[in-house]
Amino acid sequence: MSTLATLPTLLFLDTLFEFLRPSTLAGVAVEGLSLAALYVMITAGLSLIFGLMGVLNFAHGAVTMLGAYLGGLVTVLLVGGATGDPVRFLAFFVATLVAFGALAALGGGMEIALVRPIYDRPPLYQILLTFGVTLILEELARIVLLFYGIQPISDWQDALATRPAVLGEGLGVAGVAVDGLELFQILFGILTVVGVWAFLTRTRYGLYVRAGSEDDEMLAALGVDVRQVFTVVFALGTGVAGAAGVLLAWDPSWAASVPLAAETLLPAFVVVIVGGLGTFRGTVAAALLVGVTDAIMKWWFQNYVEFTGLPEITVFLVLVIMLIVRPQGLYGVSEVGGH
């Protein structure tokens, strides 16, 4: 009897010790941070829009997907087989700018044409509308891809191939083996956070966004054209999502494909709600929480339990637990279910 009981316990302890080794912890931490960086990037725009306008933009995932394809297109056009790494990074930079600009324009147009007319309706209709837009965008993407002979469902290999060699390698940093790609993603995540934070705290528009997220009626009574602020924020939000897509096009576990839209939308929702309505601080904190938890779960489910589907559930379990324990999210100030 005692032998039967000790075996599972021994296995667990053994795995635990494996986990607690510095090299494992460091590896998981880096992976967690890189996931967090990705989650921040795909969520930042959604969070700004939701916080200011109360609109849960269902089309956010589709925008990320379009950014991935658009960015991939740019890199595919600019990069040849023999292109060196520095040029590839430059191509990435160009791709990000193009994706940001194009998707920001799309977002602004969408807001003016479609979202504005239904400001006064209950939030349900804004969700419905953006859901409809998702269908349109995804199908348009499919049409264009099929026209050019690209499979919509599978990862776009051509785009993945434009990645610099250094990002595919493992690098040794302070004795820890990390993926070049993960470092790159962390870097971009930090840049995004800093960029958005600077926008929010250092610019006039950012001030309007923060004020409007609390009370947009009051902001209007102060003489600010809140509708214009809405449009700008919507455009910015979709622009950031587009840029995030470019980054994802280089990551084999995401990659440019039409299903990327749903793959990024759901975690983005989770991060927004776990973080708390209307706070960028909350988004960053939630992205860290979800990213690190995800990485930890991934490790455990590769090395201990054999249920391969569970890491995908992690994100939703975090959502469910958070909504039960603390419905307003980590930093939320509004009333629960206030929208």
Binding site: Y208, D215, A221, V226
Partner: protein
């Protein structure tokens, strides 16, 4: 309706003013009013809140709107600001029609709002709260400095989160915000609500101060405060104006007002 019976100086009365307002002994100043509200009907959904409101405010005055809870005083202010756009009637400011404009356009024309519950941006700092009100054309720092000149207490706390301020300080902030940008008309809603008597005094002083620079339309349940600050008053009941007069001609507990104000 009781009626003083004395003649009314024709001054600011608009022709066609067919409301049920009796001609009280109010000395409505001469000349064109700064703000004129005529026959305004406003709704919340299908609820008919304002059933024909008529009033006017002249430059330099402090006019009080008094009445029980829920009679439409706040809605009147909101209707002026086009936050609750009137379905019927007109609102003119300096002769220009406000109905049909966006709220921010009304605000840009020089109408400020100090709303019920203050509604300061709790997560922004004091300075940022004022900054948000400074019009784009103006120098933000200059606007800030002027606001702090008027309310030195706020200067001390400029970096604090507005949500950490006391009730009285938040009220000062709300008033400062309302004045920034050189607003000529200030719509003030229940400034004394929820504040201790001593603080109310400080707020009253601040408002009296503000009255030197701006015209004020004041909604207030605290009768002595309202009558003290105001030159004239309107009594609102069931969505329309039912009485009007000079503030110093009436006592807070006079029979005339009590019938409209007891809960």
């Amino acid at each position: 309706m009781t009626d003083g019976g004395s003649t009314v100086p024709d001054g600011g009365s608009e022709s066609g003013n067919e409301s049920a307002t009796p001609s009280g002994e109010s000395a409505v100043p001469d000349g064109e009013p700064l703000l004129s509200v005529d026959g305004v009907h406003s709704y919340y959904g299908d609820s008919h809140i304002l059933e024909g409101v008529d009033l006017e405010v002249h430059e330099g005055e402090v006019v009080a709107l008094i009445g029980r809870n829920g009679v439409g005083k706040t809605t009147t202010l909101r209707s002026i600001l086009q936050l609750t756009p009137p379905r019927e009637g007109s609102v003119t400011f300096r002769g220009e029609e406000l109905v049909g404009l966006d709220t921010h356009e009304v605000a840009q024309r020089g109408v400020g709002w100090v709303p019920e519950e203050r509604r300061i941006f709790a997560q922004l700092s004091v300075a940022e709260n004022v900054r948000a009100a400074v019009p784009e054309s103006e120098d933000v720092d200059a606007g800030l400095e002027r606001a702090f000149d008027r309310f030195p207490d706020l200067r001390e706390r400029r970096a604090a989160d507005a949500g950490d301020l006391s009730g009285g300080q938040q009220q000062m902030l709300a008033v400062a915000r309302g004045l920034v940008g050189g607003n000529d008309l200030l719509l003030v809603d229940e400034p004394s609500e929820g504040l201790a008597p001593m603080i109310v005094d400080a707020v009253a002083e601040a408002l009296a101060d503000a009255a030197r620079e701006a015209t004020i339309l004041l909604v207030e349940q605290n009768l002595p405060l309202a009558l003290d600050l105001a030159d004239r008053f309107y009594v609102v009941d069931h969505g329309t104006v039912v009485d009007t007069g000079d503030a110093d001609a009436v006592d807070a507990d006079s029979e005339r007002l009590r019938r409209y104000l007891s809960a």
